[in-house]
């Protein structure tokens, strides 16, 4: 009758989470939820953190959904992918992935190659979730500098930026081919000169600087730069690469005839 003891319940939960059919149901649930979330405009943290932009955004939403805007916001459809409705099933799926990963270790020690491959893929998914969590700890900030102006970046970065030139190169038909800014970065008592262009950001002491926009006045170009600190990005990319490597390994294992798995009732 261990079913009713604490250990019995945790063991039953463990076994439940390790089941492939349970994972499948969670995957379907997440796919459906994501589809629902795509039906509503999402309030990005950048807009939410800026009172002026938030007010503009709220006005657009109020105009579009009318009387429904309030109730819809209350059930958090506009920040759907940060709401418990989406994050709880995602968390349970991550937990199930963890349980399945731990379950597979012993077989890997016994040298079952196919199990190692699945383990790598599950590990990659866990690292991806971890990377996304780390990313949520980062910050983003936009700063605009006109001619002769210095823009300061906050968040304790201690960086200031001077734009020392901005050029737009064009195709023969006049459409823009490239935007390039010459930027002088001051931070930690040092002053260095860099080129920042679209698709070619600058990484300076853990802060990425992007060219995000420009405005032309009689005084010259006012260039907007986006400063981003994202502690999770590298982990996310590494997880993606690990996932791909796992799949390549699974093809190899099939070529070597190691994939002799018979269909199972529920197992992980």
């Amino acid at each position: 009758m261990s079913v009713f003891t604490g250990r019995g319940i945790s063991r039953r939960t463990w076994r439940f989470l390790a089941r492939t059919d349970v994972a499948a149901v969670l995957i379907v649930a997440l796919a459906l939820l994501a589809a629902v979330g795509s039906l509503f405009p999402q309030l990005s943290p950048a807009v939410a953190g800026d009172p002026e932009r938030l007010a503009r955004w709220s006005a657009v939403v109020a105009g579009r959904y009318g009387a429904l805007a309030g109730p819809l916001a209350a059930v958090s459809v506009f920040r759907f992918f940060r709401s418990p409705v989406f994050l709880v099933p995602l968390g349970i799926l991550a937990l199930a992935t963890l349980v399945c990963t731990l379950q597979r270790w012993p077989a890997v020690w016994r040298g079952v190659f196919r199990r190692l491959v699945t383990l790598l893929e599950h590990l990659a998914v866990l690292l991806l979730v971890l990377g996304a969590l780390l990313s949520s700890l980062g910050w983003r900030e936009e700063a605009t500098a006109g001619p002769g102006e210095t823009a300061a970046i906050g968040h304790g970065s201690g960086l200031t930026l001077d734009v020392d030139g901005f050029t737009i190169s064009r195709y023969p038909d006049g459409s823009p081919a490239d935007y390039v800014a010459e930027v002088v970065v001051t931070g930690g008592g040092q002053q260095t000169r860099h080129t920042i262009a679209v698709n070619r950001p600058l990484t300076y002491r853990g802060v990425n600087l992007y060219l995000s926009g420009y405005r032309q006045t009689q005084a010259g170009y006012h260039v907007t730069l986006l400063a981003v600190r994202d502690p999770g990005y590298r982990l996310v990319v590494a997880a993606g690469i690990l996932f791909l490597l796992g799949m390549v390994a699974s093809f190899l294992s099939r070529e070597f005839g190691a994939d002799t798995a018979k269909p199972v009732a529920t197992g992980c």
């Binding site: 492939t20 059919d21 994972a23 499948a24 995957i27 379907v28 997440l30 796919a31 994501a34 589809a35 979330g37 795509s38 039906l39 509503f40 405009p41 999402q42 990005s44 579009r64 759907f80 992918f81 996304a132 990313s135 983003r140 195709y171 038909d173 459409s175 823009p176 081919a177 490239d178 935007y179 262009a197 679209v198 698709n199 070619r200 950001p201 990425n208 992007y210 995000s212 986006l226 981003v228 994202d230 990005y233 996310v236 990319v237 993606g240 690469i241 996932f243 791909l244 799949m247 390549v248 699974s250 093809f251 798995a261 269909p263 199972v264 009732a265 529920t266």
Partner: protein, 270 residues
């Protein structure tokens, strides 16, 4: 060149459906090969004329999508080798060609200003964009080929046995195409994330297109998971594969309409 390829695809479809005679079988394979060559030459020509890889809008993506469906079916050893060459069985190919024609018709119906060759926007000048678009096109194409095979598997019970190869062969080919397509979908999302990080400083922003890429990815992840479960191989799995391509086609062709209806903003041109 693309009009010629379109004509050849129809020719190939009719020849694949024809019964019996040896020459119709040869015509079917020949027309498919000719269509693939025409598509390849057309894409090379378009790239040379533009001075950059033709990977910049929905029309060009659709062209690659068609090219990849024909290429995956025709060159993929798991499908063409087993079904078309080894089994001398060409009727299954008709379903795959129907998928190619679906996308090709969509491409032909794009408005003229979208079909025009344009210079490359600064944000699109990235190796990651090229990897992103190509792997997505081939990954999508694998979904299309698998769905063609799955559709045949589903209607098989209604046809006489001599018409088609054993259901096990079709299933095996379908599963192999899905297991090769899934890493390409993954690579498409990963390279897209790297590109977005380089271009906008954010690798994932829950843009509707990104969200639907996730929905697609999750659906094929589901297929790979239930495949190992007892009682899920065969017709049930085939049904999931057909639904999978419906999701792919929606997130490719239907999403702009959804974005217009719901009036969401999307950074994605295609």
């Amino acid at each position: 060149m693309f009009t010629l390829a379109y004509f050849l695809l129809w020719l190939a479809l009719v020849a694949h459906l024809a019964r019996g005679a040896r020459w119709t079988g040869r015509a079917a394979t020949g027309a498919t090969a000719a269509a693939l060559i025409a598509l390849t030459l057309g894409l090379i020509g378009r790239g040379l004329a533009a001075g950059h890889w033709p990977l910049t809008n929905r029309y060009e993506f659709a062209l690659w999508f068609v090219w990849a469906i024909v290429a995956v079916y025709f060159l993929g050893e798991s499908t063409a080798y087993i079904l078309e060459i080894k089994w001398q069985e060409r009727r299954v190919g008709a379903a795959v060609l129907a998928m190619a024609l679906l996308v090709a018709t969509y491409a032909l119906l794009r408005p003229a200003d979208e079909q025009a060759i344009r210079p490359l926007l600064p944000a699109l000048r990235s190796i990651w964009l090229q990897i992103h678009v190509l792997s997505a096109a081939i990954g999508y194409a694998a979904c299309g080929v698998a769905a063609g095979l799955a559709a045949v598997r589903l209607i098989q019970a209604r046809l006489s046995d001599e018409w088609l190869p054993a259901s096990g062969e079709i299933e095996r080919a379908m599963e192999r195409v899905v297991t090769w397509g899934f890493p390409l979908l993954t690579l498409g999302i990963l390279s897209g994330a790297i590109w977005a990080q380089n271009a906008w400083g954010r690798y994932w922003s829950w843009d509707p297109k990104e969200t639907w890429a996730l929905v697609t990815w999750l659906w094929y992840l589901l297929i790979l998971h239930v495949r190992g479960l007892r009682g899920w191989r065969g017709r049930r799995l085939a049904a999931l594969v057909v639904i999978g391509f419906a999701i792919v086609f929606f997130s490719f062709a239907g999403l702009p309409a959804l974005i217009r209806v719901v009036r969401l903003e999307s950074l994605h041109g295609f």
